[in-house]
């Protein structure tokens, strides 16, 4: 096996550093210390990077993937038909669902005849890869929410439909 010593250089940019003996001023250390202190002093007057989090939130990037939301259509009906493609595509196996059949009188709630009676995502398993939104044929799930908040118990990280389904249209206005 060839060791690292005999490895061929990937680029010819390798530079062997020559360590010169320090001159008198360098050995004093004081000029270098004053230089460093000048640098830190200048930083006192620079713009602070702090974002005051609970009051101010940093803007997310355009392709940010956060908390999932189950979408409704333009009439406020849930789009999800419980086909299970999201659960199938999920590499972390975070999604489970139980399908239900739409009854008479529920047409204003669910768009298709089949709907997700139970839809749960385990936020501790989810890796926010976004494969579920790519897999969804009904454009029913999007990872367009904020950061998943912290909590104390593991069971509280299993988000059901109460947390995932977006608010009806008239509630949003």
């Amino acid at each position: 096996m060839r060791g690292f010593g005999s490895m061929e250089p990937l680029s010819n940019r390798k530079k062997v550093l020559e360590q010169k003996p320090m001159n008198f001023w360098e050995r004093l250390y004081l000029p270098a210390i004053f230089q460093g202190m000048g640098i830190t002093f200048r930083h006192m007057f620079k713009k602070k990077e702090t974002v005051f989090y609970p009051e101010v939130e940093r803007e997310f990037s355009e392709n940010w993937r956060g908390l999932h939301s189950l979408k409704r259509d333009e009439n406020g009906k849930e789009r999800c038909t419980a086909c299970g493609l999201c659960a199938l595509s999920c590499p972390a196996e975070a999604i489970t669902m139980i399908a239900g059949e739409r009854q008479k009188g529920e047409e204003h709630l669910y768009r298709e005849e089949k709907y997700a009676a139970v839809y749960e995502i385990n936020m501790l398993r989810c890796i926010f890869c976004g494969l579920c939104e790519e897999a969804c044929p009904k454009e029913a799930i999007y990872l367009d929410g904020p950061i998943v908040p912290a909590d104390y118990l593991r069971k509280d990280f299993i988000y059901g439909k109460d947390k995932l389904v977006e608010d009806p249209i008239d509630h949003r206005i």
Partner: protein, 345 residues
């Protein structure tokens, strides 16, 4: 001794004690704020306006935390350690002249608790006692890291007391007195000792960093090597006492440096100001100037802490024994020659 004298001294001592504690408490906040600002952050700002009540919150936290005395430690010494550190940090300010004497109702009140004629030696004694708190605490913890920290603290403070003392000797040769009051009086106006002893001041400054266990010489509590150093086993109020002692020491070191080298309460144009303000407020303005100098030094301590990385232990010893002591001796020789020539002229 008359009663008024006792009351006067009692009030003075109480005020100085309170002020030192207040300054030390707010130094903890200032440290974190300055650390923040030097690192493009803002530091603590949640407790009260601008973080004003942070020291109170920290103090309360320390007070209500569980205090653990390790089973294998010697409990009495374990408690004695932080108490001694705090005590020695508090008593040093007794010989500091905080200002010229003020006149209240035809009574001359000295703004110095006691004018010991060996005030400089007293401060040295107190400062070198301070390391005993750390040593005893570290030893009593019965923990390898604590012991290492204590050993480092002891050898460091012994090594750096020598150049510190030698730099003071040169100063004493120039001032001809050991009394803090007289040293302060000699620097009337802008006739500060820093003009005569620049090298001595530099040595004193470096040594006071080492004596107060501040970065770049905070080897005794070096987190990267020794967990917490001498206070690894400490928690709650006793831990707070050690922390507090460090800040009190920093306050004392700043005060001593201001008084010995930077004129204490003296400032250029003080006679003119005193003429206008009278014998009561003039000295108080001088006292304000002294505190301004102290705060500048405290800021300097913190500024250095957040700029210069920690020394390695052998570098620390090299600097102390091979650089500072020869420099301090050279400083004495040069001072002696200059004084002799000056006297002959």
């Amino acid at each position: 001794m008359e009663l008024a004298f006792i009351i006067e001294k009692f009030i003075l001592i109480t005020v100085i004690f309170m002020v030192s504690l207040g300054v030390a408490a707010y130094s903890t906040l200032a440290e974190r704020k300055i650390a923040g600002y030097l690192q493009d952050r803002v530091g603590p700002n949640r407790a009260g306006p601008g973080g004003m009540f942070q020291p109170l919150a920290d103090g309360l936290k320390m007070f209500f935390k569980e205090e653990i005395i390790p089973t294998d430690s010697s409990a009495a010494l374990f408690i004695l350690g932080p108490s001694l550190a705090l005590l020695t940090a508090c008593i040093g300010s007794a010989v500091i002249p905080w200002g010229e004497s003020i006149v209240i109702a035809d009574r001359v009140v000295s703004l110095q608790v006691t004018d010991v004629n060996v005030g400089v030696l007293y401060i040295f004694g107190v400062v070198s006692l301070g390391v005993y708190g750390i040593m005893i605490g570290g030893w009593a913890s019965n923990n390898k890291f604590s012991l290492m920290g204590a050993v480092r603290a002891a050898s460091q403070s012994i090594s750096y007391e020598i150049p510190m003392g030698l730099s003071i000797i040169a100063l004493l040769m120039a001032t001809n007195t050991l009394s803090m009051k007289e040293i302060a009086e000699q620097q009337h106006g802008a006739n500060w000792n820093i003009l005569y002893q620049p090298l001595g001041f530099l040595i004193f400054l470096v040594c006071s960093f080492a004596e107060t266990n501040r970065t770049p010489f905070d080897l005794p509590e070096c987190e990267t090597e020794l967990v917490g150093g001498y206070h690894t086993e400490y928690s709650g109020f006793k831990m707070g006492a050690f922390m507090f002692a460090e800040y009190l020491n920093m306050f004392l070191a700043s005060t001593v440096m201001s008084t010995l080298y930077f004129g204490g309460y003296n400032y250029p144009g003080m006679d003119w100001v005193n003429g206008i303000t009278g014998p009561l407020f003039g000295p108080l303005i001088g006292m304000g100037v002294l505190f301004l100098k102290i705060f500048v030094f405290i800021f300097f301590f913190m500024w250095v802490r957040w700029t210069v990385p920690r020394f390695r232990y052998d570098q620390l010893m090299n600097l102390g024994w091979k650089v500072l002591i020869p420099l301090a001796i050279a400083n004495i020789v040069i001072t002696g020659i200059v004084i002799t020539i000056y006297d002959k002229l």
